[in-house]
């Protein structure tokens, strides 16, 4: 499915060939340290350095930011990023570390920042020289994001400065980040129109109004943080779009975070399934492999008819899901412009969760063993993966919020509270 197709232009086909050849020659060596399952779980500098080097080399080769304009570090092409992504997945490269930057900050900057800011920030974002984090959620603002209370007020006597106070939580990568995209309140009297959107140089402000404290996840890993602002002073040049338009800007961020934005996120990391002509998008292929190698309560897991049925159910969902984007791309088959793109986040994260849960069933008694146990199947990948799968069904709008959004924006039902 992922080979070049007649619909690809000659230039795109040439680019695909270039990507494939470059990746053959420049695939990075195995990591010197164990990497977490996803970039947002990065804990140590050694992990980050290895991945930054990889992202930078891919950027230098033109595989990152291909669809962004040249004057902000992009390749100036159309529909090249998808091709680069497919080739990087097939080549089973490591993933990119700057995921918040690539997936959320970059498209938001592209649509809402001044040219000057884009030119200054995007090249180092693409090269991973500057890591990004996201300051959206707060202790009192989770699913109800628009109730954020972190407050930005004009500095008395200086129209070009803002003073920021408040607390952000679940902030992945903040301990490495140079920059944060920040949703803050500028007007306490208007919930939605009282928000404004900033980019904040948090690394430069550490100890000068910014404190980053690690939070420990249910899995035992760190990797996300709370970030405290105490009278942080930032320049008005770091505001995106108008004062009071923060909610609209945040929608651009969230649409891209959920995979339904116009700009394709540069994405690497091999999950391709060698046994099949299509690639699994949820790790279900890996669960099948696990079943072939596992004994469950004394018997081969892959021979258990109920396990087989569960596996097939997930394989069907995986195949249907990965083919549904194809349906969206055919004019005569599209029922609604955002019906399929807006489903992606909900459907993929729930499938990944179900796949991890099935993996634990397949492991039987061994599912009790965690990552530090030398007898744990696949180094405890699934025990930890199942716990971490909740990061995906909760972050970026919980599954419940996603169902509201789909019911309202696609099916047109009235807004729920």
């Amino acid at each position: 499915m992922t080979d070049s197709t007649p619909q690809e232009s000659p230039d795109q086909q040439t680019f695909r060939k270039y990507c494939r050849e470059w990746l053959q020659d420049n695939l990075p060596p195995a990591p010197p340290v164990i990497l977490p399952q996803m970039a947002i779980g990065l804990m140590y500098t050694e992990q980050l350095d290895y991945l930054v080097q990889w992202q930078k080399s891919a950027f230098d080769a033109g595989l990152v930011g291909c669809d962004y304009p040249r004057n902000c570090g992009g390749g100036g092409h159309e529909n090249y990023q998808r091709i680069a992504n497919e080739e990087m997945h097939k080549a089973k490269t490591p993933y990119f570390p700057n995921v918040i930057g690539l997936g959320m900050a970059a498209p938001t900057l592209f649509y809402h920042a001044s040219d000057e800011l884009k030119q200054r920030l995007l090249p180092k974002l693409f090269s991973a020289e500057e890591i990004w984090c996201q300051g959206f959620s707060e202790p009192g603002a989770g699913s109800d994001l628009a109730s954020v209370q972190t407050f930005a007020e004009p500095k008395p006597g200086d129209d070009h400065k803002w003073i920021i106070n408040g607390q952000k939580v679940w902030t992945s990568l903040a301990h490495f980040a140079s920059w944060m995209i920040l949703l803050a309140r500028t007007d306490k009297s208007d919930k939605y129109n009282g928000l404004s959107y900033f980019v904040v140089p948090i690394k430069a402000a550490l100890g000068k109004g910014v404190t980053v404290k690690p939070l420990i996840k249910a899995s035992g890993e760190t990797g996300f943080n709370e970030v405290l602002f105490e009278n942080l002073e930032i320049d008005d040049a770091y505001r995106l779009d108008e004062v009071g338009k923060g909610w609209q800007v945040a929608m651009t961020t969230l649409t891209h975070e959920r995979g339904a934005g116009a700009l394709v996120m540069p994405s690497a990391g091999g999950q391709a399934d060698d046994d099949s002509d299509s690639s699994s998008i949820s790790g279900v292929g890996d669960v099948l492999r696990l079943a072939r190698n596992s004994y469950r309560f004394g018997k081969r897991a892959v021979d258990d008819p109920l396990i087989r049925d569960q596996l097939v159910k997930l394989l069907i969902r995986d195949e249907g899901l990965s083919r549904s984007m194809g349906v969206h791309n055919v004019d005569g088959l599209r029922e609604h412009p955002s019906r399929i793109p807006m489903q992606g986040k909900l459907a993929v994260t729930e499938l990944m969760q179900d796949a991890a849960a099935l993996a634990l069933e397949i492991e039987g008694a061994s599912s009790s063993l965690y990552v530090a146990d030398s007898n744990a199947p696949e180094k405890g990948r699934w025990s930890m993966g199942y716990i971490n799968s909740f990061a995906n069904t909760i972050a970026a709008g919980t599954s419940e919020v996603q169902r509201n959004i789909l019911g309202e924006r696609v099916l047109g039902m009235p807004k729920s509270k």
Partner: protein, 384 residues
């Protein structure tokens, strides 16, 4: 070989899908369908096929029943994906017609690759309807099973036994009969009015179809009506099976979309506790889940249809996936459409019951989800 990313769904296929939707909305709006098929709620009424023959004639005049027949034989020569798109639309209208059975018959006849099969295709080109008589009394869809025997006679074969669960039997002009001879399974073309043939209509749940079991008592079949000789029938059925499954899955997806849209519309207008029903997440969320199920099943329908033409070695896998996924749509969509319509949804006068029953029927047709998944487990994982 790889599958084209657009499923091979051409502009022509797109146009056909849109015009067929408009045509059926115009010719058979749901109120008219209800008048046609639900005029008598008595469960013990005699089973009569309720359908609009004139509409069928118009459809055949448009070439709908000959879509997949190659141009060289006089058909429209359109890809399987276009056929699936059309079936989806006819089922969105819950159309009672022999269209799906005739289209499935076209794929079986093509798989026979015989001159006599081409002769049978000519009958379809002349406007006749066909259906498959391929199932035994135990409801087996497996290619090697049959409740009908074929005994060679001087200039052909003699059929005896019973074919069960024959779809739209009263609407068909001829049957494609799967029968067992000494050398194995063969396929035979038998006219509906043949001597020694007796079709007994079943009392079925679905109001939009008819079904029969057909007794064969020394039915003579001439050599010219032997589509696949005994021993060659299983191979032909295996080739045609992905198309049979894909079209029934397309039927389910089309009806499922009607169930979704109709229930969403009700949830927007019916007010309780001062809010339209759709305000409540207990109503909203299951409808979103139904949409997700439909879109995954639909993607698999088009993938399977595309594979039939472009990647036949994977067609069975995708087609069984499509049918299994579609059965989940049928089950969940039917439950939710009736439940979320509340009291009115449980009445005879509400249109919901018509689609509910069609979907129940669709679930079992050519094997339900559990059946397909068992086959898929052997196909993908390997036999246990």
């Amino acid at each position: 070989m790889t599958l084209p990313k657009d499923f091979g769904f051409s502009e022509e296929a797109s146009l056909l899908k849109q015009t067929s939707r408009d045509f059926l909305q115009n010719k058979l709006p749901t109120e008219k369908l209800h008048q046609l098929v639900a005029d008598d709620p008595d469960s013990f009424r005699s089973p009569v096929a309720k359908w609009d023959r004139e509409l069928w004639r118009e459809m055949t005049a448009l070439g709908w029943s000959t879509l997949s027949i190659p141009d060289s034989l006089g058909g429209l020569g359109m890809p399987a994906v276009a056929v699936a798109g059309l079936v989806e639309e006819t089922s969105r209208a819950a159309l009672p017609s022999p269209l799906m059975s005739t289209l499935q018959a076209c794929f079986v006849l093509a798989a026979c690759e015989s001159e006599h099969a081409n002769t049978a295709l000519q009958k379809i080109l002349s406007g006749q309807a066909a259906t498959l008589a391929i199932t035994d009394q135990f409801g087996s869809w497996d290619a090697q099973d049959s409740g009908v025997s074929a005994t060679p006679v001087s200039d052909g074969y003699r059929l005896n036994g019973t074919a069960w669960f024959v779809q739209d039997a009263a609407k068909a002009d001829f049957y494609i009969v799967k029968a067992k001879g000494d050398e194995g399974i063969g396929l035979f073309s038998v006219d509906a009015g043949a001597a020694g043939l007796n079709a007994s209509p079943d009392h079925i749940v679905d109001l939009t179809r008819d079904q029969a079991h057909i007794d064969f008592s020394n039915v003579e079949v001439a050599d010219s009506a032997v589509l696949a000789l005994p021993g060659c029938g299983v191979g032909a059925m295996h080739v045609a099976e992905p198309a049979i499954l894909t079209l029934i899955a397309a039927d389910i997806v089309g009806a499922g979309e009607w169930q979704l849209q109709t229930t969403v519309e009700y949830a927007k207008t019916r007010v309780q506790f001062d809010h339209p029903l759709g305000f409540f997440q207990a109503v909203k969320h299951p409808l979103v889940d139904l949409m997700l199920l439909i879109d995954q099943a639909r993607a698999l329908v088009y993938t399977a249809a595309c594979a039939i033409d472009h990647e036949p070695r994977h067609a069975e896998k995708y087609a069984r996936m499509a049918k299994a996924a579609a059965c989940e749509v049928a089950a969940f969509g039917s439950r939710k459409s009736m439940q979320l319509h509340g009291g009115i949804g449980y009445t005879w006068e509400c249109f919901v019951q018509i689609y509910f029953k069609r979907q129940i029927h669709n679930q079992m047709l050519f094997g339900d989800a559990a059946y397909q998944r068992t086959k898929l487990a052997d196909l993908i994982i390997g036999t246990a």
